[in-house]
Amino acid sequence: MQPTRVLAVDDEERFLTSLAKLLAKKGYQVETATGGAQALSILTDHDVDVMILDVKMPGMDGMTTFKEAKKIRPLMEVIMLTGHATVDTALEAIKIGAFEYLMKPCAIDELIEKVKQAADRKGLLLGQPKG
């Protein structure tokens, strides 16, 4: 069974690496990107099931990244991570197809749960459920 492929995008590098380690321990295959541009280039080369995307980033912001990423991988599910002040943006993203948003600081258990749900959803849509 192919592990769920996750791409985490956040400008906080330490968060990225720790999250990646955690997810890896939980059996996910994790890629990380510290910005929107890097994320898009990874997406071009790799297929990804679930993307964890910080809304507020320097450079390309979360919303733009979200739209561009959806163009590359339309079936990919996206979980938006947001600070309080950017909830509106996250809601916008949900309207145009994001799976869910979580507010920082979020409990890691919850994040992992959401990743699982997102992966399941994608699997359901594709008719091949994943673990």
Binding site: E12, F15, L22, V87, M103, K104, C106, E110
Partner: protein
């Protein structure tokens, strides 16, 4: 505000009052002055005209008196020859006839051209006296007829005479009569003008020819005469003052070939009695009107100044509230910024904690770590870190809620149910602390449009504060919390009263400020009431505190009763439902932070 320069209301008051008195006062005084002026002039000319008329007719009367008597004598002298009259007894008969038809003659005399008193009828014994050198005799010889001034003559009694002459051939003779001065006085003095009006005659030298009613005997000089003895035609009217300082209205007329001056006069005050009346009336009008005006102006000024003060107070209150609101908003924004920044490191700490936990778990499973006291300690610490992260998250969420509009789930809710639910929620906790909760919730409470979660948060916060306040006070006193909810003046008032420790008066101003707390470090964030305030404010309501230190506190929430018919916008509903799931990320017990 005591530190602001206080407005000088008394100065404003003075200025308004002055304007209110002067503006209507001046035209009023002018009108009265002009009225008085014209009335005075009209009255004066009327009075002058009247006294002139009287003087004119009176002169005619007096002249007629003298003319009649002169003509009587002329008739006698022309009716008889000298010899006839000189005959003893004849003059007596003539005199008797004369006095029958004419009053006012005292005696009758016949003189020859030498001035010898040939015959005499009268009370004095004057026959035989030679008058040739007397002034009147010379005059009558010269002028044919003569009326003398009043003089003493040989009889040494004031009198005046009328004399006429006739010349036949070489012979000239004179008939003379003495006029009864009493009758003449009566005739001249008989005028009635007001109470002080009088008439008298003075000669060219200013000596009285008739008795003057106001004082002055025959032949006495009138001291005031020089002031009016002037040559003039017809009748002269003027205002004059006598030696005694009394003012008179005069009318004078020359008569008897400008030898006598008839004087008709009346005291000015008497003549202008109506003026005095008008003056009194004007004074009364001024007094009463002035009083009314002053009273009205005072009243109006008081009203204006009162309103002004009220407005200033309202303004200062408003600006104070504005400043407070601005400060709260600023603090809120800053707090939001801080919270937002702290969320990122918190996220990392959380992730690290999870990583450690997972790693430790793996190490346990892999046999790298054995169960030991130390391991248990590490696991406990990790749990504690997680708890503290949650606590921090609560704080930052609270800050963000305080500062920023969070997604609301606005719907029509029953206040009665909501308040009851919350009360039941805290009842257990309160009972543990030995606190009785009493409810007084009006069944007539309306349904209102609001986010129930928010109101729950506020009420929970206030109830928790009340419980804390009671336990802080301690002692044997039984704790009581009273919750009332009722309609009041078109709003809903929800109040929570405790008999706890109360709030210091100085602190009452600050309790709604963020980060203000009276609780020990670590037990309160100082955000509960600030958030509550922000929530209620957002709902269009107000929250107030009343407290007596050591006795207890009442928090009152006033909520507007919105149009109960309106429903939340349906378009918004899905978005909101979605968002309710999300904030769970902030952890359970989202209200826990609310207690300050």
């Amino acid at each position: 505000m005591a530190d602001q320069p206080t407005t000088d209301y008394s100065s404003i008051r003075r200025r308004i009052l002055a304007a209110m008195l002067i503006v209507p006062g001046i035209p009023c005084m002018l009108a009265l002055a002009v009225g008085y002026y014209y009335f005075y002039n009209s009255l004066k000319s009327e009075t002058m005209a009247k006294i002139e008329r009287i003087a004119d007719s009176h002169r005619q009367l007096v002249e007629a008196f003298l003319d009649e008597r002169t003509n009587d004598l002329k008739l006698i002298i022309n009716s008889y020859e000298y010899e006839e009259l000189a005959r003893p007894g004849q003059l007596t008969r003539v005199f008797e006839n004369l006095t029958q038809s004419r009053s006012g003659f005292m005696d009758l005399s016949l003189f020859n051209s030498e001035g010898v008193h040939v015959a005499y009828v009268g009370p004095y014994d004057l026959a035989g006296i030679v008058y040739k050198q007397e002034k009147w005799f010379k005059e009558v010889i010269q002028k044919q007829e003569y009326i003398s001034d009043v003089f003493l003559g040989f009889r040494k009694v004031p009198h005046f005479i009328i004399a006429v002459t006739r010349t036949t051939g070489e012979k000239t003779w004179v008939v003379r009569a003495t006029v009864d001065t009493a009758l003449f006085d009566q005739t001249v003095g008989n005028v009635r003008i007001g109470t002080t009006g009088e008439a008298y005659i003075v000669n060219k030298d200013g000596n009285l020819q008739t008795i003057r009613r106001s004082g002055g005997l025959l032949m006495e000089p009138d001291e005031d005469a020089p002031s009016y003895l002037t040559a003039h035609d017809r009748i002269r009217t003027f205002l004059g003052t006598n030696r005694a300082g009394e003012k008179y209205v005069y009318a004078t007329a020359w008569m008897k070939d400008n030898n006598w001056l008839l004087v008709v006069r009346q005291q000015r005050a008497d003549a202008f009695r109506q003026l005095a009346l008008a003056t009194n009336l004007i004074a009364l009008v001024l007094l009463v009107g002035g009083f009314l005006l002053a009273a009205a102006a005072r009243y109006a000024t008081d009203q204006i100044v009162r309103r002004l003060k009220q407005m200033d107070q309202d303004k200062s209150l408003l600006s104070r509230q504005l400043v407070a609101a601005e400060r709260l908003a600023e603090v809120g924004q800053m707090a939001a910024g801080v919270a937002h920044e702290i969320n990122n490191p918190l996220q990392i700490i959380g992730t690290e904690q999870q990583l450690i936990e997972l790693t430790v778990e793996e190490m346990q499973e892999g046999g790298e770590l054995h169960d030991s006291e130390n391991l248990a300690q590490v696991l406990d610490s990790l749990k504690q870190i997680n708890l503290q992260i949650e606590r921090c998250a609560n704080i930052t969420q609270g800050l963000l809620k305080f500062s920023r509009k969070q997604e609301q789930v606005v719907r029509l809710i029953s206040l009665k149910d909501l308040v009851s639910d919350i009360t039941n929620l805290v009842r257990r906790k309160a009972e543990v602390e030995g606190i009785t909760i009493m409810e007084d919730i009006s069944p007539a409470l309306p349904e209102v449009m609001l986010d129930p979660a928010e109101l729950q948060q506020v009420l929970l916060n206030l109830l928790n504060n009340a419980i804390d306040a009671i336990s802080q006070k301690g002692g044997a006193m039984e704790g009581q919390i009273r919750i009332t909810a009722q309609n009041q003046d078109g709003r809903v008032r929800i109040s929570i009263t405790d008999n706890g420790c109360g709030i210091k008066e100085a602190d009452q101003q600050k309790i709604f400020s963020p980060f203000f707390t009276t609780k020990p470090v670590g037990q309160g964030t100082g955000l509960g009431l600030a958030v509550s305030y922000a929530i209620i404010d957002k709902m269009g309501g107000t929250i107030e505190v009343e407290s007596l230190e050591g006795l207890g506190t009442t928090f009152s929430i006033y909520l507007p009763i919105t149009a109960t018919g309106s429903r939340p916008e349906e378009t918004q509903a899905p978005k909101m439902k979605k968002s309710t799931a999300a904030p769970k990320a902030s952890g359970p017990g989202g209200n826990g932070h609310a207690a300050n």
